[in-house]
């Protein structure tokens, strides 16, 4: 069993680095990368994946629908 409760996968090439997901994350998981993608945006990425609770707030607020959120089934 993995120790992580949730995970966020950002489609980095489609991310515009608006920062809304970073602000919306209640656990401080996300940050904008130092690197830029092909369009020149500092894309969002997980800086502290161990904190992710899979709440999906980041996915909800993402205007570009580039975020997929995973959560371990805690009942298992």
């Amino acid at each position: 069993m993995a120790k992580y409760r949730g995970a966020v996968i950002v489609d980095a090439e489609r991310c515009k680095g608006c920062n809304l997901c970073v602000v919306a994350c209640p656990a401080g998981v996300l940050t904008l990368a130092r690197e830029v993608n092909g369009k020149g945006y500092h894309y969002s990425e997980m800086a502290r994946p161990e904190e992710c609770i899979g709440c999906a707030n980041c996915g909800l607020v993402c205007p570009d629908a580039v975020i997929t959120v995973y959560r371990m089934n805690t009942k298992q």
Binding site: A56, L60, D64, A65, V69
Partner: protein, 255 residues
């Protein structure tokens, strides 16, 4: 990618992802634009109701003119402000279809005032989605009817002056006065709870079409960070502090 993350990122663990009703096209909107979130919500509502083959959208002139590139349904692109008339033509000949317009504040509250008033007054069995960000985005940030008093735009460089430009128009409240509207609400998409509420409002609006209840009007107060010259996060804060007092959220009419 660590082994732990590989373990989590399996199909059965997905709790949020892009709805298949959105096309794969990258949206042309600026970073952080509210349109993206609103498009997503409309697409999710359509997908979850299983009505993609029964829904026809009408896109406006303005930033969302290309909405038809992003939601994978049939669309008509209307002339500036005329979307409610175009939707009327579609809906009258296809009463079994879900027809909606997607319009900005310049399109709906300025050049298209007559069309939206009369579509609502006839109680056309359609959904009207009104995105109010108090500015013309596409043409470069000019004053809209909903621009706040004192707000700086490229045509009110010293702020909106009521002597010169009149007052911010609360068209949603006006439309609620018309007997043809059944559901009139004002929502926002700046936080996860607000987004969930906005989605519920949109779902209800489409359900009203199914029940043949007349016009459902969903205003969504949004940001235009490029036009307002702020970061998306600052724009959300500015919206809460300045837009919401003038354009308070909540249902205005629900019959």
């Amino acid at each position: 990618m660590t082994a732990e993350i590989t373990e989590i990122t399996r199909e059965e663990h997905i709790v949020y992802r892009k709805t298949p009703a959105l096309t794969g096209n990258v949206m042309h909107y600026c970073p952080g634009c509210s349109h993206g979130v609103i498009h997503k919500l409309v697409a999710e509502v359509i997908e979850e109701a299983g009505i993609r083959d029964k829904t026809i959208g009408v896109s406006p002139v303005g930033c969302s003119v290309l909405a038809y590139n992003y939601i994978d349904i049939d669309w008509a692109e209307a002339a500036h402000g005329r979307a409610p008339a175009v939707a009327t033509g579609i809906s009258r000949l296809h009463p079994e279809k879900y027809v909606f317009t997607y319009q900005g504040d310049g399109d709906l509250a300025s050049i298209g005032t007559a069309e939206v008033m009369h579509a609502c007054n006839r109680g056309e069995n359609i959904v009207i989605i009104f995105v109010n960000n108090a500015i013309y985005g596409m043409t470069g940030g000019q004053m809209a009817p909903t621009t706040l008093v004192g707000q700086v735009t490229s045509t009110t460089p010293r702020g909106r002056d009521v002597k010169l430009n009149g007052f911010p128009m609360k068209i949603t409240e006006l439309l609620a006065q018309l007997d043809g509207t059944t559901y009139v609400t004002r929502q926002a998409v700046h936080t996860p709870p607000a987004i969930r509420k906005a989605k519920n409002a949109l779902r209800k609006a489409f359900e009203n079409t199914k029940k043949d209840k007349g016009t459902s009007f969903v205003e969504i107060v949004g940001t235009c960070s490029s036009g307002w010259k702020m970061t998306p996060v600052e724009a959300n804060r500015w919206m809460v502090e300045n837009m919401f007092p003038k354009y308070p959220l909540g249902d205005i009419k629900d019959i």
